[in-house]
């Protein structure tokens, strides 16, 4: 051990040597430089192709399903106008709710109660309409109920320091009980609104306007504001996000608030489309949303690769698949079961492919 002052430290570590052209490098430098340039260009091209394919895969899937839908529809003599209308009816609610839910998934979180929340919001909207006859109050009730249930999940998670997923599991049970209780208030097994009224507003134009406004809002928030970036940062690495000054609680509350707005709008369209609601209505919405997002290329673990358009592409893809399958399996015994199985197989295949791509990207250097 010896005495050492700051100047000595510098002296000991100063790097004053000249560049040494090692003989081994010089001998082969020209050849290697040429080989390297060609190989670099090849590798760059390969990487670009890989990224392009990954980005385009959901769109390619959508195009394939669209072609299959047209071929199957026209060859079976199906009324294509009606089929397209059904397609939009099927996909629009899924797209709206899934787009809102992207904010939750991007954080690497999950809400299992989306379907139940949609049902309860639709029921409350139906009851409000029956009491007031107002379309706007019905819409407001749907949104308020859905946003409130979403915020309760997020706030409980923040207060008790739990993963939000856990509180949504609890919320699933609570909402199931609330739905049953709401049905009982009518004295029957269902909540029904006036069919003439629902037909008046259950139009393509209303659906497309609602969807367009909400999607525009979500695209803006997700891609062009701090909120969207922060959601992806949290999904990519929550600890890093926290140590970058991100409030995890506020971020979760904002994400669930937006998702709640989507659920509210979805519930509003649901009650217009299905004016008779029972405790089993909208039961498959939660699962359909998850499948749609995966079909659309959403990364299940969230993070920086989350894309808002995954909900749109996925929602349309799933509706195309459902329509194509229902045309193909029309009249076949057990057709619905087969369609479900095909959907499950495709879901697994897409997740497997996405996971394979991810594994290769995170291999250690």
């Amino acid at each position: 051990m010896h005495d050492l002052n700051p100047t000595d430290v510098n002296k000991e570590t100063d790097v004053t040597v000249d560049t040494r052209d090692d003989a081994k490098t010089t001998a082969t430098s020209t050849t290697k430089a040429e080989t390297t340039t060609k190989a670099d260009a090849k590798a760059a091209s390969k990487a670009r192709r890989g990224k392009l394919f990954a980005d385009l895969a959901p769109l390619i899937g959508l195009a394939v399903l669209a072609i299959a839908f047209v071929l199957v529809g026209t060859s079976s003599g199906t009324n294509m106008g009606y089929a397209v209308e059904t397609l939009i009816n099927q996909s629009v609610i899924i797209i709206i709710i899934a787009t809102g839910a992207i904010f939750i998934f991007a954080m690497g979180s999950f809400d299992i109660s989306l379907g139940a929340s949609t049902l309860v919001a639709a029921m409350v909207a139906g009851l409000v309409h029956n009491a007031t006859g107002s379309l706007w109050l019905m819409l407001g009730a749907a949104i308020l109920t859905a946003v409130a249930t979403s915020l309760i999940s997020a706030t409980l998670a923040a207060v008790f320091n739990l993963p939000v997923f856990v509180t949504t599991v609890a919320m699933l049970s609570v909402l199931g009980a609330v739905a049953a209780a709401l049905v009982q208030t009518t004295g029957g097994a269902q909540i029904r609104i006036d069919r003439a009224f629902s037909r008046e507003y259950d139009t393509l134009a209303v659906k497309l306007i609602v969807a367009a406004v909400f999607l525009a809002l979500c695209v803006f928030l997700f891609n062009y504001t701090r909120l969207g970036r922060v959601e992806k940062l949290v999904g990519g690495n929550p600890m890093t996000a926290k140590l970058t000054g991100v409030s995890m609680k506020l971020t979760a509350i904002a994400a669930f608030g937006i998702a709640g707005l989507g659920v509210g709008l979805g519930a509003f369209l649901t009650v217009l489309r299905t004016p008779t609601l029972t405790v089993t209505s909208a039961s498959d919405i939660g699962m359909n949303i998850l499948v749609a997002m995966v079909f659309g290329g959403m990364v299940i673990s969230g993070g920086p690769r989350s894309r808002i358009y995954a909900a749109i592409i996925g929602g349309i893809s799933m509706a195309l698949l459902n329509q194509t399958m229902s045309i193909m399996l029309q009249g076949m015994a057990g057709g619905a079961g087969i369609a479900q199985m095909v959907r499950a197989v495709l879901f697994l295949a897409v997740v497997w492919l996405a996971a394979s791509g991810f594994r290769t990207k995170v291999l250690p250097r």
């Binding site: 005495d3 990519g236 970058t244």
Partner: protein, 499 residues
């Protein structure tokens, strides 16, 4: 050392996207030697050894191990057949015990009728730990509760337990304090009597004293191999860098300087048993170094100053604002570079752009009603990318594909771009090469000159002495001594305070 070749690598290449990590390299490892690999970050050291140890396949090339073709498909296959590796980053599973980590995937040997005999497993784990000199670690402790050094030693014990012919130690010593390093050196010395060791380190002094031969890599090429009697610091540095490095490594002055305004003031900080009544002040334009042995509380102090530790008592104040959490810290122009870069400072799956922009999103949206456009974001991140010379094909490059030094530059870039005024740096040069280190020191000096307040926490005494205006030495959670920068600073005296 014999001249028998135990492992041969021929014409090996490997690319990650556009990055060519290895370019037709040839390498020989002899029986009975400790063979050092040295080179700048991203030179290909870890890539070559990870291929040898079965972490990933090569794109092309062949390997021979003890005369037979060698191409392990997995790390476990490699370990079972004679080559084990202790990896650079954490290789333990935090949610299970030390013993379970040691016998990961091998607990069947302790299982009877489907029930794991934990007593037998813990006993064998203790024996494996004692074999490398770790005697005070309870194998039933969850790995997540152990510090980084202990986890690295657990990894070493796991590899050594298999008695492999070849052991690869990849930049492990940066995570170890001196006692841990001594254990590692002893284990390597013992091992070379029955096999060979490949040892990767950025510490030139260490690698020169420990190794029998030394191979230098640069930009995916093997530049040259030195025998022990040819070791020459200047020649090795030149081979590593391929260019001359000009100027001083650390600060040139030896006088403490700072402005009068106190920008960070912490009073009476207490945190579990890790911080005991710690008070510290940092002024504008001042670098305050914090040093000590591992477990002295310096890393916890860094987090506490950033509002990221649940203090039992005490307060951190910056220019009249109490710093009670990370959010408030960032809003008051604080920045924190964590010792655990990959898990606490970066989003590895995000791009350079996303990472650098993450701390400055409010700035990017300022004057645009919060609107963050691609153009504004690119303009924001390009300055730190250029200033720090981050080597990457573009701002969209995913951070996980970068070398350690470039990753650390991204972390620095994140805080510099958003105008951080109080910077807390916890081991900022851990695992980075001399070139990047020099760049970091220059940057710190520049930030000091701009009037920023810097807390530099480090396990490297030369770094602390070379950069700090004031140096606080911690022991058992307390600040035990304070040294002012001067020409008379005595390393011996400082170390005596630490131990």
């Amino acid at each position: 050392m014999t001249n028998d070749v135990v492992l041969t690598v021929t014409d090996m290449s490997k690319s990650f996207g556009v990055v060519r990590a290895l370019k037709h390299v040839d390498f020989e490892l002899r029986d009975g030697e400790i063979h050092g690999l040295i080179g700048e970050n991203g030179s290909g050291k870890s890539t070559m050894t990870s291929i040898i140890a079965g972490s990933q396949p090569a794109d092309s090339g062949t390997m021979l191990f003890q005369g037979a073709p060698w191409a392990p498909a997995t790390v476990n296959e490699s370990l079972a057949n004679g080559i084990g590796m202790v990896v650079q980053e954490s290789g333990t599973v935090p949610g299970i015990t030390v013993a379970e980590n040691l016998f990961l995937g091998e607990t069947g040997q302790f299982t009877r009728f489907g029930i794991v005999d934990r007593r037998a497993m813990n006993k064998k784990a203790s024996a494996a730990l004692e074999a490398i000199g770790v005697e005070d670690l309870n194998p039933a402790t969850p790995a997540g509760a152990c510090d980084f050094q202990t986890r690295k030693l657990v990894e070493l014990a796991r590899v050594m337990m298999y008695e492999p012919k070849v052991v690869v130690i990849d930049e492990t010593t940066t995570a170890l304090a001196q006692d841990g390093r001594d254990l590692l050196y002893k284990a390597m010395d013992t091992h070379k009597t029955r096999g060979a060791v490949v040892f990767i380190s950025h510490d030139l002094d260490e690698i020169m004293s420990v190794c029998d031969r030394l191979t230098v890599l640069r930009d995916g090429d093997i530049i040259c191999t030195f025998d022990k009697d040819e070791f020459d610091e200047g020649a090795i540095r030149a081979a590593m860098i391929g260019r001359s490095m000009e100027g001083h490594y650390y600060r040139e002055d030896n006088k403490a300087t700072h402005h009068d305004e106190v920008w960070l003031s912490a009073t009476g900080l207490n945190l579990e048993n890790k911080l005991k009544d710690v008070s510290i002040e940092v002024r504008s334009g001042e670098i305050v170094g914090v040093g000590g042995l591992s477990h002295c509380g310096m890393h916890e102090l860094g987090k506490a100053l950033f509002g990221a530790a649940p203090l039992e008592s005490g307060e951190v104040v910056s220019r009249g604002v109490k710093i009670t959490n990370e959010r408030r810290a960032v809003r008051n122009a604080f920045g924190y570079v964590s010792k655990d870069r990959d898990t606490e400072s970066l989003s590895l799956t995000a791009s350079i752009r996303d990472n650098i922009a993450s701390a400055g999103l409010r700035l990017i949206g300022k004057g645009r009603a919060g609107l963050i456009t691609k153009r504004a974001e690119n303009a924001y991140v390009q300055t730190p990318i250029d200033q720090l010379e981050i080597k990457a094909p573009g701002a969209g490059t995913i951070v996980s594909t970068l070398s350690g030094g470039n990753k650390q530059k991204v972390v620095f870039g994140k805080w510099i771009a958003c105008g951080t005024e109080v910077l807390i740096l916890d081991c900022p040069t851990r695992g980075v090469d001399v070139g990047v280190k020099q760049a970091m020191y220059r940057l710190m000096t520049q930030l000091k000159d701009e009037g920023k307040a810097i807390v530099l926490i480090s396990e490297e005494m030369t770094e602390l002495m070379g950069m700090s205006d004031r140096l606080l030495i911690m022991k058992d959670g307390r600040v035990v001594r304070e040294f002012e920068r001067s020409a008379d600073l005595n390393e011996m005296e400082i170390i005596e305070c630490m131990i």
